[in-house]
């Protein structure tokens, strides 16, 4: 994987120009335009195919409850992929941390506790989950940055480790009966907006700020495109990698909390199909799997596209296996298009101008 010649798109022309122009933005990033078009096409197709079930308030509100978990996991996957790695352990972290939270909320609470006490335990559970998520992420980061194991192996191993730990803790059983206040996070709405959606929006905003407005984002992208150059450029690669995996663990634990709030139970093997879907979303969103490049707008559009597709297929009463088939085709197709289009552009440019552009 690592030794495949990385095909990169040319340097982004609009990168150091602070003024914003829609035309330049669209033309400089063909992928975002393409993604937007795909999203609209999927939306329109699904609307035409099943207007009565797809284009209703009910279906939209159920979508708004469904996609945030995948969305938050995709953000975690995106960060690690921009750093040139991958995080296969996000679902493991999500399950492990949410089980910890559920245990605090269900098992530790004394009998007949007042609403206030059980609220305190709920907060304690959430804090525990988030700390555990960061610790899990730091373990990944330590193994990647300090010991030097390839990220895919680290997270492959830690996925087994975290999931195994979750199974050991629960002995394979589900933990049920979370406090009502907590499940209202998963199923409630705040001023008409579903709470999971609000959490997703907050995560998106935080990651956006980190990636685009903080030095960390720049360092991460430099590290992802060329780790040697970034080290010689005075960037502490170890710290950046540790931060990245810790953030990924943090986001995964948030996703886990939303997940158990939605289902009102926690189990060691929930949502394992999310790993593939998160990779699909991130790649569809135009993040370079070899690292160094990725836009959050792309990831958000990709997750919406997938949700439209998924809900639309549900409305058509298509089985889950058929969805797997579609996921696979979409992923491959997007990869092929992303690989071919820069080459075509390059050829066109070379043919169009007599002088070489480099």
């Amino acid at each position: 994987m690592t030794n495949q010649a990385a095909k990169r798109t040319g340097p982004d022309a609009s990168y150091d120009d602070p003024s914003f122009s829609l035309k330049r933005w669209l033309s400089s990033d063909g992928n975002l335009t393409r993604l937007f078009v795909i999203m609209v096409v999927v939306f329109v197709t699904m609307t035409v195919l099943s207007p009565r079930t797809f284009l209703t308030l009910d279906s939209f509100s159920s979508m708004a409850f469904q996609f945030p978990v995948l969305g938050i996991l995709s953000l975690a996957m995106m960060l690690t992929m921009v750093s040139g790695g991958i995080d296969l352990s996000i679902v493991g972290i999500a399950n492990l941390t949410s089980i910890l939270a559920a245990m605090v909320m269900v098992r530790l609470v004394p009998e007949g506790a007042s609403a206030g006490t059980s609220f305190m335990y709920m907060l304690l559970g959430i804090v525990c989950a988030i700390i555990a998520g960061v610790l899990c992420g730091l373990l990944n980061g330590f193994a990647v940055a300090k010991i030097g194991i390839p990220p895919i192996l680290v997270t492959l191993g830690s996925m087994q480790l975290f999931m195994g730990l979750a199974i050991v803790i629960t002995k394979g059983q589900a933990i049920v009966g979370l406090p009502e206040q907590f499940s209202s996070i998963g199923n409630g709405s705040h001023i008409g907006i579903p709470v999971p959606l609000i959490i997703f929006a907050l995560c998106v905003a935080a990651v956006y700020v980190l990636l685009n407005r903080r030095p960390y984002g720049m360092k991460l992208q430099l590290l992802g495109s060329n780790p040697t150059a970034s080290r010689y450029g005075g960037i502490n690669n170890t710290v950046v990698l540790l931060k990245t995996y810790a953030l990924s663990g943090l986001l995964a634990s948030i996703a886990g909390l939303v997940m158990i709030a939605l289902t009102n139970s926690a189990k060691a093997d929930y949502g394992t199909s999310y790993i593939l879907q998160a990779i699909l979303v991130v790649v569809l969103g135009g993040v370079n799997p070899n690292g160094g490049f990725g836009k959050i707008a792309g990831v958000v559009m990709a997750v919406l596209t997938l949700q439209f597709l998924s809900s639309g297929l549900n409305a058509l009463h298509v089985g889950n296996f058929f969805k797997d088939f579609i996921w696979g085709i979409v992923l491959i197709l997007v990869m092929v298009i992303n690989a071919v289009s820069p080459r075509l552009k390059w050829k066109r440019r070379a043919a169009g101008s007599s002088k070489t552009s480099s």
């Binding site: 799997p289 088939f325 996921w327 990869m335």
Partner: protein
Amino acid sequence: MRKWTKTSEFYVAIIILVLFAAIGSQNGAFFSSANMFDLIRSSIVPGIFVICTMMVIISGGIDVSFPAIATFSMFSATKIILMLDFDVPVFAAFLLAGIIGLGLGLINGLLIAFFKLPTLIVTLGTSSMFSGFLLTFVGSRQISNLPAPLEQFGKTQVIKFTTDAGITVGLPMSVLITAAVVILVAIMMKYTMIGRGIYTLGGDPVSAERIGFNTRFLQCFVYGFVGFLAGIAGMIQTTMMRSSNPVDLLGTELLIIAAVVLGGVRITGGHGTVTGALLGLLLIVTIQNSLILVGIPSYWQRFVIGALILIGTGVAAYQIKRSSAKQSSILT
């Protein structure tokens, strides 16, 4: 010169011996021939899978689609044979499954070789595609009325004897297929130009191209061949289970990769041996089958395997880091 005591195979072998001794001292039943045969029997199908994964990883890629390919080939081959409705020889059934697998593997190979896509993501995608297609369009219900020759093949045993305790133990015919595959691939990787080319490709694709290897052909060959082997392995699974279940093998890919990596095959490509991969498999299979014999509940399996992967790869990565540090200190 690397001494053989410094190879990772040596360390894995020591770990396995220690594990054997530990389990054996706790429970005498471990060394019984029934248990040993059980270990071999449960490595027949994964044995072919580790060989597949080893080849792919040596070539510098990673393949998570082989269980999907195996399932797809075995299930559709069984269906086709049942539809033909006459007793095709066992050989033809295996060949058919192999050819279906070859076709699917070539899809991977072409995508990887001609579009230069990351192997993990391509195979994740095709894996989801193949199993989705199989379960939607070919069928999702288990086939238990196998054609007679396959049924017969599954029942035939190579070695069979009755132990003192009166338990009859034996190995199915298919163990010979796995043995043949192992030997064939070992010879191919070591003594043929294609095998050496695969090592070179994994070590450095640019150098491989410059010294005249056709890297595109090599990649297509690796993924096609692996697809072929996966198809065969799927058919073995069918004959061993005496039924064709379309969800049987799915989800085994990560454990197989773990086995290969534990056996000292470097995930960055270019390094690894058949012996190492098989030792890694033995380690995993022993943990899976025998932890329960020493009184460790089976739900610890995943945890132990995950810890082993991290420790095993960590030690290997640390060694590489140290040796490269040593080299650079000599140079400067």
